[in-house]
């Protein structure tokens, strides 16, 4: 991290002190990702200076690491001819994302300077909706015909002017770009020179449809361990290829969102957006939980006579609530991660899991009951309030034990039911489970107190 900030400091210094020519020379030796980070934090005037001084290669590199929206805004500040060269220097998928954010007049203007074939590609790519496999894919891939020999295939590979980042797979298509199969480079390299591609290719290529979700594409790549995934249209014509690094980003975002949802936060913008977004993504859950809390207060109110009679009961209330909900959240975590990993695909696995959780809940409950009984005993002895000692020990102990079991059931069954109904299991988030556990615990605790203490 220290080395990281040192690099950025150097870049910053160069931006503020170098002449245009020096700047171009200096910055082209740094990684565009670092230059992009610095570009974002310098002031407007310096940014314009950079755009003026740097050539389209360096600018292209920087834009690839900016958010598409920001990159589009930046591209607008450059004159159309240079902007066109910048777009040509960027990987087609990233360029298309930027083009998507240009207004239609700007788009027309800039694209008129871009190489005709690339302009067409960018137009097509930029039509895909965000979050689809089509949006994620790049058009750069190496295609060949199945009649080629292994030797010819390698020659095509060597002479391709625009090679993709990782030419690990070649795609076998016919003249209308119907996907006939794929061939992994490993296989090609190991093959005899004059063997036909048709004989060594994999005919049943795993592919996704252009309108499938990006998540589906990423999951497919992860499951089947693919570095490059072909994307086809409804007629099975090759449209492009998803690369694993882009898939990794999709999965990382997806897992971040899933993580946030487990805490009752509705989306990723809650972590990075402005205050309004942060509030909007949290408030719905907070409100729902608040209502549940109010309902809990109402339940406590029904038992107010118990509190009136023996105010000591309040002493242990927060403790029992906290401990029981911790147990519920634990069961939730285990069940939800099991569902995520696909462990419970079959009915008996689900049933076995629920039974196991309940068994574990019961065993933990016994320990928790004994322990909390002990604490009650100690607390009351310390306070010197021993009038209802045994009653309180029994009531709190049993209530804690039962609350534990109930919490385990809530934490296990709710995500299971959501899963069974094919709903998003993240609705069963930590706050919700603990709020529901709270309600049940309050009910149990006061019911026992009514029976035993009053």
């Amino acid at each position: 991290m220290d080395q990281d900030s040192a690099i950025k400091q150097q870049i910053k210094e160069a931006i503020y002190t170098s002449s245009p020519k020096e700047l171009q020379e200096t910055l082209s030796s740094y990684h565009p990702s670092d230059v992009a980070d610095v570009f974002l934090v310098v002031d407007e005037e310096r940014r314009e200076y950079m755009l003026m001084a740097l050539n389209f290669h360096v600018i292209g590199g920087v834009l690839e690491y900016l958010e598409a929206r920001v990159a589009a805004r930046t591209l607008n500040k450059i004159d159309a001819e240079k902007a066109a060269h910048v777009l040509e220097a960027i990987e087609p998928d990233n360029a298309a994302h930027i083009v998507k954010y240009l207004s239609s007049t700007q788009r027309k203007h800039i694209l008129s300077y871009v190489d005709e074939r690339l302009a067409e590609t960018l137009q097509t790519l930029s039509k895909y909706k965000r979050g689809t496999a089509g949006y994620l894919m790049t058009s750069q891939c190496i295609t060949l015909s199945k009649d080629a020999t292994a030797k010819e295939a390698l020659e095509i590979l060597e002479s391709s002017p625009k090679q993709p980042m990782t030419p690990l797979r070649l795609f076998v298509v016919d003249e209308k770009r119907f996907l006939d199969g794929v061939i992994d480079l490993n296989r090609l390299l190991a093959a005899e020179p004059d063997v036909l591609i048709d004989d060594i290719m994999h005919p049943d290529a795993i592919a996704v449809d252009e309108h499938d979700s990006a998540i589906k594409a990423a999951r497919t790549m992860q499951n089947y361990e693919l570095r490059l995934l072909p994307v086809v249209n409804a007629r099975h014509q090759l449209q492009g290829v998803v690369t694993l690094d882009d898939a990794a980003t999709v999965l990382a975002d997806k897992s971040a969102v899933a993580y946030l949802k487990t805490a009752g936060v509705a989306g990723i913008d809650a972590a990075a957006g402005n205050v309004l977004k942060r509030v909007v993504f949290r408030l719905p859950w907070l409100l729902a939980l608040w209502l549940l809390g109010l309902f809990g207060a109402w339940i406590v109110g029904r038992f107010f006579f118990v509190i009136n009679e023996a105010p000591i009961v309040a002493l242990f209330m927060p403790f029992i609530l906290a401990v029981a909900s911790a147990s519920g959240v634990q069961s939730l975590a285990i069940t939800a991660s099991g569902i995520e990993r696909g462990v419970f695909t079959r009915m008996y696995a689900r049933r076995r899991h629920v039974i196991k959780e309940i068994v574990i809940g019961v065993i933990s409950a016994v320990f928790a009951a004994l322990l909390s009984g002990l604490f009650v005993f100690l607390a009351l002895v310390i306070m010197g309030d021993t009038a209802q000692l045994s009653d309180m020990v029994v009531a709190v102990g049993i209530a804690t034990g039962l609350a534990f079991i109930v919490a385990t059931v809530i934490g296990t069954v709710i995500p299971m039911v959501l899963h069974q109904l094919n709903r998003d299991i993240s609705y069963a988030n930590k706050p919700l489970i603990s709020a529901l556990t709270d309600l049940m615990t309050i009910l149990l605790y006061f019911s026992f107190l009514t029976l035993i203490v009053v």
Partner: protein, 462 residues
């Protein structure tokens, strides 16, 4: 030209039926080849012992090894432990090496080392070193069969080497140039190798200052580095610059996947490598330890109630809202903790500006949520007082309750944001700041504020 690839198929059922009903051996071999090892792996737990025996004898050894590699580590271990060491090694040796390591790590330590002893040559030495590493070190996640070529050879030789290695190498996109001592001299990307002149010497086209990481580097740092610079593969060397393996974008993907489950586990105070298939008694032991710890932490809640005993005894109705005040603080803790952990884990937080803006954003949103919910609580206190016994529509009551809800949310926000930031500064793992502990702390402070307000505002008017 109708293709069936995209139509929905029940592949597990097909595979199961195939193994059960296809009696013609040759047909079975051909048909099994049509399924990806992943498809067979997802069918695994439906197969009988007999099915598995047939699967093994009618698939080629490498494909069968890949099936085992794709099983969850615990199932792979269960299967391998029934085989003798030679058979095990035969299968492990044909797996992609990072999966073999993962499988070995799923075994009890002594068994893993005994299995490794049955390997020969370089594999055995490297595997031994890898097994001694911690999970947090990148060496434990790397591939250990990089394609190498000696310095002084020609591009032509390098290509031949690549062709020969292609069948077993983990990744072919980088060819590593090494010297006699196996020290890393340079790297040739596949792209360069394919376009270079065959008669050139490898050192003339190689990248002589290759990106590399060290065996003991932290996994998360390497992942951050690779994602930041869009690196597809990088060499792993030991302290003597000896080439041991390679980390690829697949590794990164695996780690991202693991991180998610680990964050989740930590957020729920769960043990990290919790195995859902363990027998109940083992699960109870692991989880009970955590729960007992939580029970211990929560004694603080009894303590705070003891301290304020005289206060709530004087104004008993305040107890009715005690759970609400505590719960709102703990919910806000969960939310803020999650956003903070996500921010810290995304590389955006590497620069100080985003860190500051996150802090400001969180504090503001905590404030807004606090004011909104505190205000709502005041309204409820006044408007709904009749349904709560002995509660009064008095403004003082509303201020106490609303104030406590507001303060609870604010405190929760500050703690859940501050503690991970501090832990992160101390170069720990932000997700390790277990939410139950912070939630307890926030609840405790919220309760203290609630009762303090009670003492100040309500006791005088009683």
């Amino acid at each position: 030209m109708a293709k069936t690839v995209l139509t929905k198929r029940n592949k597990p059922k097909e595979i199961k039926n195939l193994l059960k009903h296809e009696k013609r051996d040759k047909m079975l071999i051909t048909k099994l080849k049509r399924y990806h090892p992943y498809d067979i792996a997802t069918t695994w737990n439906r197969l009988t012992d007999n099915d598995i025996v047939r699967l093994r004898s009618f698939s080629d050894a490498k494909r069968f090894a890949r099936v085992i590699a794709m099983l969850p580590p615990e199932e792979a271990h269960a299967y391998l432990s029934e085989l003798n060491y030679d058979e095990r090694v035969e299968i492990l040796d044909m797996m992609p090496t990072h999966r073999a390591i993962e499988t070995l790590r799923g075994m009890p330590e002594s068994e893993a080392f005994e299995t490794v002893a049955a390997f020969d040559g370089r594999m055995r030495d490297v595997l031994r070193r890898v097994l001694r590493l911690k999970r947090s070190q990148i060496g434990s996640a790397m591939h250990i069969r990089p394609v190498t070529v000696l310095k002084g050879e020609t591009i032509k030789t390098a290509r031949t080497m690549l062709g020969e290695a292609a069948a077993y190498a983990d990744t072919t996109e980088l060819v590593f140039v090494i010297n006699q001592k196996r020290q890393l001299e340079g790297v040739i990307p596949l792209k360069t190798l394919l376009s270079a002149k065959p008669s050139d010497l490898v050192e003339t086209v190689m990248d002589a200052k290759p990106q590399h990481v060290t065996l003991s580097d932290d996994v998360q740092d390497v992942v951050a580095l690779m994602r930041h610079y869009d690196i597809f593969a990088t060499a792993v060397v030991d302290e003597n610059n000896k080439l041991l393996g390679v980390v690829t974008v697949e590794t990164v993907l695996d780690i991202i996947h693991q991180n998610m489950h680990e964050d989740y586990a930590k957020g729920a105070e769960m043990p990290m490598h919790y195995n859902i298939n363990n027998p109940s008694n083992k699960q109870v032991r692991v989880r009970l330890a955590k729960l007992l710890m939580l029970i211990g932490v929560n004694i603080a809640l009894i303590a705070i109630m003891l301290i304020f005993a005289s206060t709530y005894k004087a104004v008993l109705p305040v107890i009715v809202f005690l759970p609400l005040v505590g719960a709102m603080a703990s919910h806000a803790t969960n939310q803020t903790l999650a956003t903070t952990v996500i921010m810290l884990e995304s590389e955006a937080m590497l620069n100080i500006e985003t860190k500051r803006s996150h802090i400001a954003g969180e504090v503001m949103s905590g404030f807004v949520n606090g004011v909104l919910l505190g205000g709502l609580t005041m309204l409820a206190s006044i408007g709904l007082h009749e349904i709560f016994p002995a509660w009064q529509s008095d403004m003082a009551y509303a201020w106490v309750l609303g104030g406590a809800v507001f303060a609870g949310i604010m405190i929760a926000t500050l703690l859940a944001m501050g503690i991970p930031l501090i832990i992160n500064r101390l170069s720990g793992d932000p997700a390790a700041s277990g939410s139950p502990v912070i939630a307890t702390a926030a609840t405790l402070i919220a309760i203290a504020i609630y009762f303090t307000l009670t003492a100040v505002l309500l006791i005088p008017i009683q």
